[in-house]
């Protein structure tokens, strides 16, 4: 029951992250500015930090979140390891992107910050899902 709840929580958080990253990917390719609470979204989204070797950072985020969603749907022995690795990587890279917004760009994008909050929630849940085992399960 707990294992299922953790798996579900990982899937839901990853889907939320995928939604945010998907929207930012769409606006990146569409050339439009994201709907935003501040003027920071457009500045961040159009900054040179929004791409790595021409690949939108938002697209990398989308693929990462979809990868995590996929791990919750398969019954592979390494699914939890992959999920946790992706989630912790997302957390670390999002922390760096938060630093970039604060110190390199000087503006915050509300979508990006929301994404960073999602990854901060997702990583511990994914680790909990990885480590959780029933009391009567063999060690």
């Amino acid at each position: 029951m707990i294992e299922r709840s953790l798996r579900f929580a990982v899937a839901v958080l990853a889907l939320i992250g995928a939604g945010i990253a998907g929207y930012l990917t769409y606006t990146h390719f569409n050339g439009s500015a994201p709907v935003c609470l501040t003027s920071g979204c457009e500045v961040v989204q159009k900054s040179r930090w929004s791409e790595i070797f021409g690949i939108p950072v938002a697209l990398l985020g989308l693929l990462t979140y979809l990868g995590i969603v996929a791990t919750t749907l398969v019954r592979h022995p390494l699914a939890k390891e992959v999920s946790a690795t992706l989630a912790v990587t997302a957390l670390g890279f999002n922390a760096y992107l938060l630093y970039v917004q604060a110190y390199d760009i000087g503006r915050y994008c509300t979508w990006c910050v929301s994404n960073e909050i999602v990854s901060a929630l997702l990583a511990p849940v994914a680790l909990a899902w990885l480590l959780w085992r029933p009391k009567d399960a063999p060690a």
Binding site: N30, S39, F93
Partner: protein, 234 residues
């Protein structure tokens, strides 16, 4: 936590750390900083495109044109630059040169300090009715945002590339109060018109009347062509 679990977590965190470091290094190396050279200003076809078209202050085109397009843009904004390089030439060729459309440039400077310098320089050129040449040359030679590319040498090279512009006068005017009213007017109009502006944004409507259409979140040329054709048919 059991030893076995600890090893698993450390392995995952270690693996993630390697990936994060690789991504961070890629972001630092992966984007070249485009800092245009002041000694090699790209003229492309800007001056040729605008040649012979009347300019007055912030406007380009016949004062009696049926339609007016108001452009809200930041000289540093990459999408504004893209619009200026790809869509404007078509509008000039099909509508502005024939006197059907005029454009107002309402410059904003929210991206950063380079925006302030570039916008003020454009407005200073506007005092000599050459704003559009400067704006389009700034777009043609646009550097990466907030890298300090709008140096004195860069700005000098831009204004010296505009035929008929007194470059010395523009360079002595851009940092004075003479350009402030135009900058303030644009910001006021933007805040009155848009709840939350993104650049470039546009207003379209009959000249002398209240704009009837807002065009935002796109730099697709067909969108502008369709909107102008629809208004010209009315």
């Amino acid at each position: 936590m059991k030893r076995e679990d600890l090893v698993r977590v450390l392995a995952i965190v270690g693996g993630a750390l390697v990936l994060v470091v690789a991504l961070v290094v890629a972001t630092r190396l992966g984007h070249h900083t485009n800092k245009p050279s002041a000694s090699a200003i790209q003229l492309d076809s800007v001056n040729e495109m605008l040649s012979g078209i009347p300019q007055k202050g912030i406007t380009l085109g016949n004062a009696n044109a049926r339609l007016t397009l108001v452009e809200f843009a930041d000289p540093q904004c990459p999408f504004c630059g893209e619009w200026g390089r790809t869509v404007l030439p078509t509008l000039v060729q099909n509508y502005i040169r024939s006197g059907k459309l005029r454009i107002e440039f309402r410059g904003l400077d929210f991206v950063g300090p380079d925006s302030v310098r570039l916008l003020r320089l454009a407005q200073a050129a506007g005092l000599q009715n050459k704003l559009w040449n400067v704006v389009e040359l700034e777009y043609e030679n646009q550097g990466t945002e907030n890298t300090g590319f709008a140096t004195d040498a860069f700005m000098k090279a831009i204004v010296q590339a505009v035929p008929g512009l007194d470059a010395g006068k523009a360079l002595s005017t851009w940092n004075t109060s003479a350009v402030v009213p135009m900058v303030n007017a644009a910001q006021k109009l933007a805040s009155q018109t848009f709840k939350q502006i993104s650049t470039p944004s546009f207003l379209l409507g009959p000249t002398g009347a209240k704009p009837t259409q807002t065009i935002t979140n796109t730099i697709d040329g067909q969108t502008f062509t369709d909107a102008i054709n629809a208004q010209l048919k009315k």
